[in-house]
Assembly symmetry: C2
Homo-oligomer: 177 residues x 2
């Protein structure tokens, strides 16, 4: 990603958070993470993240999704003898469609962007709805037409350990000047 693309995505995410009445500090705005997963198509597959806390006991983040933006399918494996990450997604604004293993719905609300999306049991999250994922559960999610904001409460996050179904994903972004 180019720095200009990151700056533009940060600005857009900051505006969405403000519209939702979610206050963040100037430092959080500057450090707001823009993840394109190394795929180079941020609008389709990407995620914007504010990390509130990530210590050795718990983690809390705000996840921002642009309209129809998708977080690619992945799971959280055990790390250094610790259980995989367990996480609760709580929708704060917009609609978010979450997919996990199980019976696929007949007419999914989200369209998988590539062939690397294999779990299709749908959970619809509207503001106030939440869902807890057990460790090592494959999952992906996509926002509806208005985008979405999701609070993530979890055990500690070790993003670089995440296992993505798409072999082209690079979780830690490469920034070009």
């Amino acid at each position: 990603m180019k720095r200009s693309e990151i700056a533009s995505a940060q600005k857009r995410a900051i505006e969405m958070l403000a519209e939702a009445g979610i206050a963040i500090t100037e430092k959080e705005k500057q450090e707001l993470e823009v993840a394109d997963f190394g795929l180079g198509r941020l609008e389709t597959e990407g995620l914007e993240i504010v990390i509130y806390a990530n210590n050795d006991r718990y983690c809390a983040k705000e996840l921002v999704l642009f309209p129809f933006q998708t977080c690619p399918q992945h799971m959280h494996p055990p790390v250094e003898g610790r259980q995989g990450k367990q996480e609760t997604f709580r929708c704060r604004k917009g609609e978010v469609y979450l997919y996990v293993p199980g019976n696929p719905v007949a007419s999914p609300k989200a369209k998988p962007p590539t062939e690397y999306y294999t779990v299709l049991h749908e959970i619809v999250l509207k503001p106030g709805d939440q869902y807890t994922l057990a460790p090592e559960t494959l999952h992906w999610f996509q926002a509806g037409s208005e985008g979405g904001i999701v609070s993530e409460f979890s055990s500690p996050s070790v993003d670089e350990a995440d296992i993505f179904t798409d072999p082209n994903v690079k979780r830690i972004p490469v920034i070009e000047d």
Copy 2:
């Protein structure tokens, strides 16, 4: 507390959450916890709580404080060989004054309701501000004139183990008909 007092406090907390744009489900509204800490003066010393998640790995809650309402001084001890609860308070709405051990401020913004408030190092939390408390840190907090809403991210919560400075506190409420 009488059921009518609980219902009235729930209604008020639900309205404050709605004003802040924080969506909660019907079930969460019904189960919204009203804690008077057994002191019988909810307006002065009390707290309204929505528990989003509390499992064996992490906990997340929304804390609602009416104007000038105070959560009494307490700390979280080790429980069954596990470290005491560590918690991050993030202000979402209003102003909240948090007090911990350390140099007392000359003119505190909050007025301790009783003599059982002994730590007076002040941290002012406005929307977007947060503070992380190490385990076993004595603390108390009070909202400003508009009340306050605080997201709490933490290690698992074992409320009944909390140690309050005021010997009259009963953390688990007694409900009268």
